[in-house]
């Protein structure tokens, strides 16, 4: 029951029929008001997000003809079974998974390391924090081009620094390493920020109590601080895995998925199928497979982390 000022009445009296009717009227009015506030945004959201999502499901069941008004052939699950038998789709899956495997743990470890360093008494903490966060707010297009330049075979700074001559972007695994390097470089600041916020919430008293009990810094970190970071860890892992499977712009600009589809990720393959080969039906089927994969992965992780359970 919502307690509004109109409802206040002496304890023990029964509401009269008139009061009840008034309250019903006011509840009804509140509902209408709420709908009025929701309507403009929700209408746009449904028209441009939810409806396309439904539309994509329908398209994925057709051999979709993109000409307006043309008839498309219904082929049921054929686009889906085509994907599951398509070696490039699976290569895209493996590449995306490899990218996530290379970038997620690295970003978390480095982010935590910087956060722990900045959580001590450091001069100019805000300055450091801002600096480490700069790559996060910088355009993916720009940083992808910068990394493409850095990983240039003949004149790139990376080959020069390492004293090697590797054609990074022209081969599958070296290209994935280069893409992952960019992903890590761009992402560390974000996990740093989340971890820093979580570290500042760890109660001093817990750490002091552990110190009194004779625990050294390493033990305190491992047994007191780290368990307190569980919610932050879960949040960061879920978000980074989603982000990892979403890698697109850097692939599109640094390798284009090539040579010969070697470096295709799930989303670059989806995009190429739809807008290079104009196969919208197949592209939509891949889109649904990717969405289900990402939802599934997120749910599994939340279960593993027992995310959302109160334990503090």
């Amino acid at each position: 029951m919502t307690a509004t000022m109109h409802d206040v009445r002496p304890v023990g009296t029964r509401p009269t029929g008139r009061a009840r009717a008034a309250r019903r009227r006011s509840a009804k009015q509140k509902t209408l008001t709420a709908y009025a506030f929701l309507l403009p945004g929700l209408a746009l959201f449904v028209a441009l997000m939810v409806w396309p999502m439904v539309q994509a499901l329908r398209m994925s069941l057709y051999h979709w003809n993109i000409l307006p008004g043309a008839v498309s052939e219904f082929i049921a699950g054929d686009n889906y079974s085509r994907a599951l038998h398509d070696p490039v789709f699976w290569r895209g899956f493996v590449n995306s998974a490899a990218y996530a495997l290379m970038t997620v743990p690295t970003q978390m470890a480095l982010g935590l390391l910087v956060a722990v360093a900045l959580n001590r008494k450091v001069a100019g903490r805000t300055g450091w924090r801002t600096l480490y966060y700069l790559p996060v707010v910088t355009s993916w297009v720009v940083v992808s081009l910068v990394f493409k330049y850095l990983f240039n075979t003949d004149a790139g700074a990376v080959n020069w620094l390492l004293g090697v001559h590797i054609d990074w972007l022209g081969n599958r695994w070296p290209a994935l390493v280069a893409l992952s390097a960019l992903g890590v470089w761009k992402g560390v600041g974000w996990s740093m920020l989340v971890f820093l916020a979580a570290l500042q919430q760890v109660p001093r008293s817990l750490l002091e109590a552990a110190e009194v009990d004779g625990a050294g810094p390493a033990r305190r970190f491992w047994h007191v601080t780290l368990p307190q970071l569980r919610a932050a860890m879960a949040f960061v892992t879920v978000m980074l895995v989603i982000g990892g499977f979403n890698v697109f712009i850097s692939v599109f600009l640094m390798t284009g998925g090539g040579p010969a589809h070697q470096t295709e990720t799930l989303l670059s393959y989806l995009y190429n199928q739809a807008f290079t080969f104009l196969d919208f039906g197949y592209g939509s089927a891949i889109a649904y497979l990717v969405t289900m994969l990402i939802f599934g992965l997120s749910l599994v992780q939340m279960k593993l982390f027992r995310y959302g359970e109160e334990d503090q």
Partner: protein, 271 residues
């Protein structure tokens, strides 16, 4: 000793972090004949403004910049307006369908952007929004609405309902409560949301690449990417254009970083 090590580590990490920015900057002042020369130099031997004059000499560059500004402005205003209205409704009202609608919003937070691009392209075509800046704005708003609503709902929920009810007793309607109580109180949260949405629009690539064909309607990210695609070794010009695109963002971020950090951390801790 230990402190020296700490600062050394932080400085090393900072160097790796800003290194690529320095490369971009220094290359943007390097003449075309030197951009592929080794060893790479932090300070070009013969620094030149010629890349910048080339960028602004391109027929459309000022246009691209203006397009980016217009689209970002439209997006920020609209997404903040609609998002704050929805956030307020979810935070302060109980109504049938609330769980369903909020579930839709939460679900949309998990759907990757590129996944919807195929059907959205067809919807945009049916609405005659291909090759249109309005098409960019409306789809950006729809894409980010879930996140902004979620962010602002969290803030509005922390405003006691009694405050609003006190105003209502004095005869204020819901719109006035929203307009003259909620929005002013929410200024910091709106600031956070504004920065997020500006960054989103300023950097968005895939959708703009897909629906914009007319060169006069390009935004900066696609203009830069397409230019690099056509002139694969004109790195000096590419990075001069990149610098022009990135610097406003970095300045805005450094000035307003407190808001962004606070908003991010609030979101993270509430999970």
């Amino acid at each position: 000793m230990k402190r020296a090590l700490l600062y050394l580590g932080l400085a090393l990490g900072a160097l790796v972090t800003i290194g690529p920015f320095l490369v971009m900057l220094s290359t943007s002042f390097t003449g075309q004949s030197y951009v592929l020369q080794l060893p790479p130099r932090l300070f070009p031997e013969h620094p030149t403004w010629s890349n910048y004059s080339d960028v602004f000499g391109l027929d459309n560059f000022a246009r691209y910049f203006l397009n980016s500004v217009l689209v970002a402005a439209g997006h920020v205003v609209l997404v903040l307006l609609l998002g704050s209205m929805m956030g307020y409704a979810f935070a302060h009202f109980d109504f049938p369908g609330k769980r369903l609608f909020f579930g839709l919003i939460l679900g949309a937070l998990m759907v990757p952007g590129v996944v919807l691009i195929v059907p959205q392209f067809l919807v945009a075509r049916d609405l005659h929004m291909l090759d249109s800046r309005i098409g960019l704005v409306l789809f950006y708003v729809a894409t980010q609405l879930a996140f902004i609503t979620f962010l602002l709902r969290g803030f509005f929920a922390s405003v006691p309902r009694e405050l609003a009810e006190a105003m209502e007793v004095d005869g204020a309607g819901a719109w006035r409560v929203y307009r003259s109580l909620m929005l002013p109180l929410a200024r910091p949260a709106l600031g956070t949301a504004a920065i997020f949405s500006f960054l989103f629009s300023w950097d968005e690539f895939a959708w703009a690449l897909t629906i914009i064909n007319d060169p006069g309607k390009r935004t900066l990210p696609i203009a830069i990417a397409l230019f690099q695609g056509q002139h694969s070794t004109a790195w000096g010009v590419v990075f001069a254009a990149s610098t022009v695109a990135v610097v406003p963002v970095l300045v805005i971020f450094v000035i307003f970083q407190r808001y962004l950090v606070a908003g991010l951390q609030a979101g993270a801790l509430k999970g």
